[in-house]
Structures are given as C-alpha cells and as structure tokens.
Symmetry: D2
Subunit: 340 residues, 4 copies
Amino acid sequence: MNNPSKIGVGVIGTGRIGKLHIEHLSQNIPDAELIAICSLDTETAEIFAEQFNIPKVTSDYRTLLDDSQIDAIIVASSTDTHVEICQAAAEAGMHIFCEKPIALDLEQIDETLAIVEKAGVKFQVGFNRRFDANFRRVREAVASGEIGEPHILRITSRDPAPPPIEYVKVSGGIFLDMTIHDFDMARYLIGDEVVEVYAVGGVRVDQKIGEVGDIDTTIITLRFQDGVLATIDNSREAVYGYDQRVEVFGSKGMVAAGNPLTDTVTFSGSEGNRTASPPDFFVERYKAAYLSELQAFIQCIQKGTQPLVTGEDGRAPIVMGYAALKSLRENRPVQLSEIL
Amino acid sequence: MNNPSKIGVGVIGTGRIGKLHIEHLSQNIPDAELIAICSLDTETAEIFAEQFNIPKVTSDYRTLLDDSQIDAIIVASSTDTHVEICQAAAEAGMHIFCEKPIALDLEQIDETLAIVEKAGVKFQVGFNRRFDANFRRVREAVASGEIGEPHILRITSRDPAPPPIEYVKVSGGIFLDMTIHDFDMARYLIGDEVVEVYAVGGVRVDQKIGEVGDIDTTIITLRFQDGVLATIDNSREAVYGYDQRVEVFGSKGMVAAGNPLTDTVTFSGSEGNRTASPPDFFVERYKAAYLSELQAFIQCIQKGTQPLVTGEDGRAPIVMGYAALKSLRENRPVQLSEIL
Amino acid sequence: MNNPSKIGVGVIGTGRIGKLHIEHLSQNIPDAELIAICSLDTETAEIFAEQFNIPKVTSDYRTLLDDSQIDAIIVASSTDTHVEICQAAAEAGMHIFCEKPIALDLEQIDETLAIVEKAGVKFQVGFNRRFDANFRRVREAVASGEIGEPHILRITSRDPAPPPIEYVKVSGGIFLDMTIHDFDMARYLIGDEVVEVYAVGGVRVDQKIGEVGDIDTTIITLRFQDGVLATIDNSREAVYGYDQRVEVFGSKGMVAAGNPLTDTVTFSGSEGNRTASPPDFFVERYKAAYLSELQAFIQCIQKGTQPLVTGEDGRAPIVMGYAALKSLRENRPVQLSEIL
Amino acid sequence: MNNPSKIGVGVIGTGRIGKLHIEHLSQNIPDAELIAICSLDTETAEIFAEQFNIPKVTSDYRTLLDDSQIDAIIVASSTDTHVEICQAAAEAGMHIFCEKPIALDLEQIDETLAIVEKAGVKFQVGFNRRFDANFRRVREAVASGEIGEPHILRITSRDPAPPPIEYVKVSGGIFLDMTIHDFDMARYLIGDEVVEVYAVGGVRVDQKIGEVGDIDTTIITLRFQDGVLATIDNSREAVYGYDQRVEVFGSKGMVAAGNPLTDTVTFSGSEGNRTASPPDFFVERYKAAYLSELQAFIQCIQKGTQPLVTGEDGRAPIVMGYAALKSLRENRPVQLSEIL
C-alpha cells in the first residue's frame, strides 16, 4: 500500500540508466516509493520487479499516467519517446524526471517545455554530473568567489571506448550525445550563458565513425556572456579509462577536479611508481551522482522548490550542440543566436 | 516467507556496526534474508525493523537460536556478551559472524573456538579491514611476489578523536581495542605469524586516558617468524582525520596504500595547493569493506568453504595485544610464546 | 689566454637572461670560454666581468665580431637589435645563439636567415623550454610511439604576474611575447607543422593592458597538418605561481608534465592537505633548461651538427603569432598560409 | 692572490664528497676562496686543481695548516684520519668543517671536541641533510608549532644498493654509517635529546653482509626526553631508488617530506598511471644541501656565529649508534646513559 507521505514513482525504461534509477528508488531513497515500472522489454521488467519488490509492471506508459498512486515519473526510455511521454505526463499532472536529451528537435523541446510550464509540474533533466561531489565542490568554489572572478575553464571528457556504430548513427553525433554533458557542465560551473561556440574535430579513433558522418575527436572553444573563455576536449577512446576532469582558473586561484582512481595503492619498482586507473565508465564513476539527482528530484517535489536542473538547462546544451555542429561544418565561430 | 535458496540471518546488536550489517543484509546481499534482529534497545530495533522490513524483533537472542528460518547469526552486541552468544549459537548449529574481539579472555576464546569447531559451523571474525579493496590489493601484491620477498612493513593507524573515557575504561586498552586491527592487518598482509612484540607508548593526547590506566600514543615493533620486521604507530587523535596507511617494502619493490580523500578537488592559491581530507571515520572509510565481509561470510556458508577470517585469526591479535601490554609495562620485547 | 680546444664565446646583453647565460658559460660549461661581454649598461657589465673573471668588456658589439678569440656570440640584447647583430655576426663568420624572437618582422627574419645560411654558421634560437627535462620526456614519449598516434595536445601557460605596461607596449603583444613559447612547444611536442590557428581572448587581468591594445587572457586552438588538434590557454596572472603544463593524448595513452613544486612537503591539518607552489618564475623554473640549451649550442659547434632549435623553428612561432592576432581581430580561424 | 675579505679554504680529501665540496667552493660560494687541496691521490688532486683553477696541491695536510692564506679546512678524507687532522687544525687555529663521523671512538671524539673548544675555532659536522630544503621546511613546521606538540616521528631511509663489502667491514656497521644520518635527522626535527633506543634487524638483502657481522635491514625505536616517540626503518637496498622520507605527527597536524622525483611526467595507459623515480643517490638528492651546508659554514666564520651542526651534534648520533648496536645484540631497549 502506498505510504501517503512518500512520493509514488513510476520508471519508464529498463536499460542501463533505467536500472540504476530503479535500484536507487527501491533501496536508497526512503522518501520515494517505486510503484511501477514500464518497459517494452517485459522480460527484463519482470526480473527487476521481482528483484526489487516492485508491485506493478507494464509495457504501456499510459498505465502509469492513470495510476493514482504515482506522483512522478522517471523517463529513461529511448530519446525518441521522450517528447510524447513528457507531454502526456505533464498533461496528466505528473512531475517528470527526464533523461538527457529531452529531444534532438528544438521545436519539440520548446513545445514540451511550454506544456510542462502550463501544467505546473516539476521537470528535471538528467544531467547527473552536476550532482557529482567533486564537480559540485568546484561549482561552490566558483560561486562563492573562492577563486575570484573566473577567467578560463578547461574540461576534458574522454570515453574509455566508442559506443556501437548503430548508436552513433542515431545519437545526433558526438556534440549531442557526448559533449552535451560538457556543455551543461560549462554552464553549471560558470553560472553564465554561452554566446559563441567554435569546434574543430576529426576522425582519429575509428574510420567507421567517420563513415556514418560523425567525428570522434574534438576541441571546442566557448565564449560566455560575461567574458569567461572555455575549452573542452573530447575523445571517444581513452585507453587508460574514463577521463573526466575540469579546471576553473580565476583571479584569486584555480580549482580543479581530477579523476578518482579505483584504489589508493602505489607500487614502486625499478620502473618508477604506478597507481590505479579511473573507474571503468559512467555507471561506476557517477553512481553516487545518479542517486543524488533522484534524491534532489524527490525533494523538490516534497518541498515545492525549483529543480536543480531545469527544462531550460536541458535545452541550452542542445542549442550549443547544434552551434558546434554548424561551427565544425562551416569552420567558423557560431553565435548561439544563430541557432533557432 | 523464507526463500529456501537464501541464507536466513539474524542480527544481534543495533549499535553503529549492528546497524550497518542490518542495512547491508536488507539491501545489498541478495543471497541473504534478514529474518530477525535482536537488541536490548527495543525501540531502536523496532525502528530498524520498520525501516528495513524485517519480520521479527526480539530482545532475547535465544529466540533467534530457536528460529528454523535462521541459518546464521551476526554477533554485534557488546563484547562481554560474545562468548555466551557464540557458544549457544554454535551449539544450536548456527553459523556465526562475530564482531571483534571475540573476548578479552584467552581461555574463554579457546573454549569458544573449541565449541565452534566441535559444532562444525562456520565462524568468521569481523576484521573488516581485510576486505578493504586497497589493503586487499596490497596483500595480493605481497602474496603474488610482486614486491619480491617482504622485508619491512609499516602501518599507520590514527583515529580522528579519542573514544569516550567510559569506553576506554572497559575496552581492554589501546592495544586490545585499537591496535588489534593493525595486529590483524600485519598478519594478513605478510601472511606469517608474529613471534615478538615490543611496544613504547605514552599519554600525549588526553591526560584522562592516562588516569584510567591507558595510553593514547604508541609505536609497536613486530618480528615475524620468517624475519619480516614491522612497525605500527597509533594515535587516538589525528586532527586531519582518520589516518589508515600501510606500506610493504620488499626485495623487488614497495607497495603502499594511502588514505582515500573525500573528493578529488585541488585548490591552488597563493598559499600553495590544497586537497581534501580522508573520510571522517571507520563507517565512511570502511563501508564497502563491511559489506564485502558479510558477502564473503554468506558465500562461505553457501559454498561450504573456509571463512576468510578464522577463529584463529580472531585469537592471534588478542595474544599480540597482551604481549604489547606486557612489553609496555616491562619495557622489553616480549615473545608471543610468553602469553598463555 | 684562449684555450684552443674550447669554444670562445661573447655575450651581448646583460639583462636577466644575459646574466644567466654569462653565469652558465663562466661556471658550468667547461667546453666554452667566455671571452667578452657587451652591454650598453657598462656598469653592470663591469660588475659581471669582475664577478665571473671575464677578460673583456665592451659597449660596442662590433668589438666582439673583430675578436679572433671569439667563435660564437650569444645575442641577449633587446629584440630590436637582434637582426642587425645577427646579420653582422653571420657575415663575420660567427656562430650565433639568438634569444627569441629573432625579430617581429617576418621579412627581416627571412633576410637574416638567408644571410646565416649563406655564411654557413650555426644559428640556434633561444626556445629554452625544449631543453626542460620534463617536456623533453614528453617529447620522447610522443616521438617513440609510447602513446601511439597523438590526437590531442593541451598546453597551459600562465605567468605569475603581468610584465610592466611599458614592455607590453613594445613586445608585439601576448601572442608574440608569451604564447610564442607555447607555439614552439606545440611544434616541438608533436613534431609536425601547424596549418590553422583560432584565437579568442579578452582583458580579464588588468584594464591597462587593454588600453595599450593587448589582451591578457586567451585560448588558442591549433590544427596540425596531420590532424592533431591542440588547445593552448594563457593568462598574464596566476596568483598561485608560474603554471606550465602540457598533456599529449594519443591512441595508446596519455603523457603529461605537471608543475614542479618548490618542496616535497605536505601539511595535513583540519583544513585538508597542503603542498607547495611552483617555482616563482622562468629563471627558477627553467634554470637547468637554460644551461642545457647553451651546452647543446656549444656541442653543435664542436661536433658540426645541426642546432636543436633552427632558424626555421625561430620563424614558425612568429607566423603563428601573427595568425593568432589576425584570428583574434577577425574572429575566424586563420590558415598559416595567409601569413606572408 | 688571496682576497682579504674572503675566507681562505683548504680541502682535504678528493673522494666523492671531497670533489663536491671542491666544486661548490670553486664555483658557487663567492665568499670563499679555495686556496689548496690535499689528497694522497695526487693524480686526482692535480686534475681537480687544473679543472677548478686551484693554486696549490699537496699530499701532506700539514702544508695547509702552515698556509697563512687558509682560514678554514674541510676534512673529507677517510674517517680514520679525522681525529688527527681536526686536532692539528684546531691547534693551528683553523676553523674546521669535518665530514661525519668525527670518529668511531667516543673518547677520541671527546678529546677532539675539547681541543676544538679550547682553540675557540668554528667546528661544523657534515650532516648535510639538515640543509635539505624539504627537511628544513619540516623542521620549521615543528619548531614554529605549526603542527602543535610533536607526538610521533617516522623516518624511512633506504639506500638504492648496498656499499661494497670492503666498506661494510670498516664502516662501523649500518648504525654508524647509515642510520647515523637518521639519528641526526631525528634530533634535528624534534629539537630534543633521545634517551632510549631499541633496534631490531636482520640480514635480508645480502648474506655477505651478515658474514662480516653486520645487518642490512633494521627498524629502530627512539624515545625522546620529552616523550616523543620515533621509528626509523633502514634497508641497504631499495630497488626503486634512494628513499628518504620523514613525517612528524603532532597535536595540530602532520608534516611530511616525500621523495622528490626526477621529473614531473605522468604516463597514463591501460596499466594505470606511471611516474618517475627518485634521484639515484645522495649526490643527486642532496646536491643543494651539500652546497648550503658549506655556505652556512663560511657564513658562521664571517659572522662569528655558532655553526648549525655543532661538535655535540656530531657526537650524539655516534652514541645512539652504539646504543642501537647494544640493543640489537642484547635484544632490549638501551638507555643512552648506558653508553660511556
């Protein structure tokens, strides 16, 4: 039976991220009650339901929208379903946590955000890295003036291995599927809007990525409204593991978050000193951040506060992604105002 | 209803460690089913029962021993109850996970271990640090010969703040309540028996500790059977946080585990570079290790294997503790063979 | 008396760098004999001559060119004198070590390099950072294939404090006086030519720098012929000290050189851990590199080998500097082929 | 000709350390003038004299004592000559810098110190590590109260490779030839006297060392007058290089000096991260410290101040060495008051 003081939640999608949300909602967020999960992969959904004691399973997301025990839904299904589900959920009065990207089409995003606003429901986008303790500490140092006025931002973000080529074909390309996180991180860390993007890139890792029209290596320069300059570099393949670092340089100092390592052990031998690698990939690296973002989402419903990642935060990096793509194609800096 | 393929578990004790075990058994060990908890603090027990959906609560541990759904018990009650509970549990045919120390009295320990052996039940002692990924990595490096033949072992173990003076009075003193972990770590990392102990110590942190007959600062030298030499240093108060480091030096190199830090952030300012502190204390530092030891315990029951921390492993550090105490009092190296 | 087996050297200029060369030639390079120094600041020259036992002092560089004991000259006078001195020295058959930049005018550089080539004398440009042991190690890792095929290069180069505004007025601007080192470093580390430059920048440190037409903060993107992408960031003022780091990312790994610190000491207190700052500025940071470059120069004369920094290496970063300036002004990527 | 404002110096001994002093006096200490060197190895002495422009060479140290240009002598000849030379030099009114150990015989040391005191000359002992910038910073942190009241001192000191067995035979053993530096470091860092020593040790590195009656691996426990406890560990062979670390733990924090590395480069690959090794051995590691100690010696002559390492500082570690030896042989803690 639904505990009335808890937020009833339904999760749509049982892929890697969906599973993580299901796990966290079942075990680690006492203020939430996971009422139902929805997936086209009914077999996996049944397994999760049994494993995590989830009362209801469905393959039709509309069932969740009709469920009076459910206050909020987590949209972790494939990107092409986000708009329809979010719009229907908003109209059903449900709070929404939507994985990134909301959509690849800006008009659809705008339409969705308008419906959400009209419905007055909470809407949080899944930029989980904002909830990473290291990056949050960096943000605090910038926001509090600890490093003075920020001047330069550097972000390095490199995946351990490229995604399957089938994914690359539909993901919208490196800027919209990978750099999008860094675009969000840049806005988050500096607390200002980007006005101009310049991107260079190439195919260095795998020719197949080039054959489907994408790049795998890129350096992007950003200019913020207030004059901060930023550089982001991305690669689809870092053999030493998932590399996620940021550095903000300002008038009073610098704050930087390095990679965590899987252990604290150092070997010293005739070849020098050797330390461990970073965690394998995003699930390991950002597990605590995935939990934190859901906790924050549940809390903003309970307290009636603004989500920490808004619809506009979900939209802006998409605009930056299109600007980067245009910049790459035309080999010139592109103003964000040129996009839509 | 009890799932027959799972190990039914009862937890005795709802203090800090008891709670951790209850949490892990409820949420993170699918192969275990937490059937009942027992505590003299019935109020706390009821709260945990509700929070973690535990079917049964009792204030009499014998209730657990009579419960046919329960295969194993976790003894996390106060030290003075361990012997009685362990003996009764063994006689009831239950597998036992017992927090350290088994007891402060060596005869009682021997009696208990004899009963356990006769009963043929699994018996694992709660030296959780063996399950810390960093220390395990160090052990592997030693065991695999990665650093050649070990020559020197260094252990630093310093608490962030002294325990309450009431605890110091009954704990058996620093060697039996604090260094005991390092004695175990020394045996674990080197994989050999200690034959001689020399301890120096003093009261440097808090005079009250001296007034109740204990010391708060100590350096202990160990000599292993095969000739490895070790030095352990302990303090009851490190203002920079929980300091737990080990280093093994051998003929082919050195392997060392440093302190993890709470974040990966570095500040650079006119005063130099600043990084974070270690986690506050043992619950934060060793959370994953506490989980791992219980997983290993459940697994050794399921697979019928030997526990990774045996009764003898529980006994040896107590002997070393008494040797250290004798060494401190008589200011001379003491052979372990002098104790009992 | 001149030892015939040694290379006789004359130094022109007694500023900060000139003094360093004088010191190194007097004390640390047994294969060189410092015969004479030349400076318009005759008082300082006299002091150095006495301090370092230098036989001859002059205020007219032509005196050096007529001296049969002198085989090579070190040009460390102000930039506007380089061309005249280098041309006259080459025509006098002297080997030349010239501080960077050779000149700010590309035609003058070309004319000078042509005269040098015709004269057949050695000509080395003072890009001292190539001789830093850390950066050399990075170059070796790239050249040897240790990190596979290079994909991304990152250079951070930030001064501890801006130069006097009078210097900024005549230095040619940040790209030609500061970034020039990073342009050289980029070519050195990757071992390939840059074809395109894009620069963004602003005045963040000191408005006075803007008033004389320069910027103090910049991010520059480079594209190499073979496709490597690079990002350089510069600031005129890092309050935590001279910040000089490079990182090369490739298909088989990453190699990075961090900042050396002035000591190896760590303080741990309730505020976390604290370490030292980098050396104050270039004289401290690159002292050994300044010595190495002179040793290499003397050696290339003795052995008749090619200097490790050629005239072309002196010219290319100037072209990149002009490309960066054009890019900044026109806010577009500039091909190096557009410059002369 | 001797410059009257400079201190005239003679160096006795042209071995590894003697050469270093000759080099420093010739090149880096403007306030000293190296007048003469003395060595039984006249060939080497002649080479140095030419290389460093030293006016006089002799094989009889008495020649130096008669030389009116010489104010001070540096005794870097073999240990068995120290006493005779120091006594004669003191009686000749010369200031003395004597390499450690002054002698292996305590009575001879006392006799020498008495003569020195009567003569009123400066007498500094060559404990160069006190002048290492890292250890000096640690000492400052202790002396200034930055870490509060010191509680625990840890010193690790391991050589990269054992000395020739012929040296081991005459060196006085590991305590008097190797640990002696750590005994001095302990007194220096804590600023207090040691009252008790306990040593354990064994032959782990090379059986030949055992055959000549020495050990190669040791852990030593020290107790200071004011209650600080210390642990020192030594090995004759660390395959990863010269390992020299100290750590002082106190009521307000910890200060530790780690090993410098030969470069700042990190490689990241599929095996984790790799950094460089420490400098090879003492000449590389302590070069700057060797220079600083001589500068301080010259300065204390010029200013008439007390040397920073006194005769008593030279004597105390010898006493500690004998106490350690007695402790090792009798396997018990030994009071320093038991020695002489």
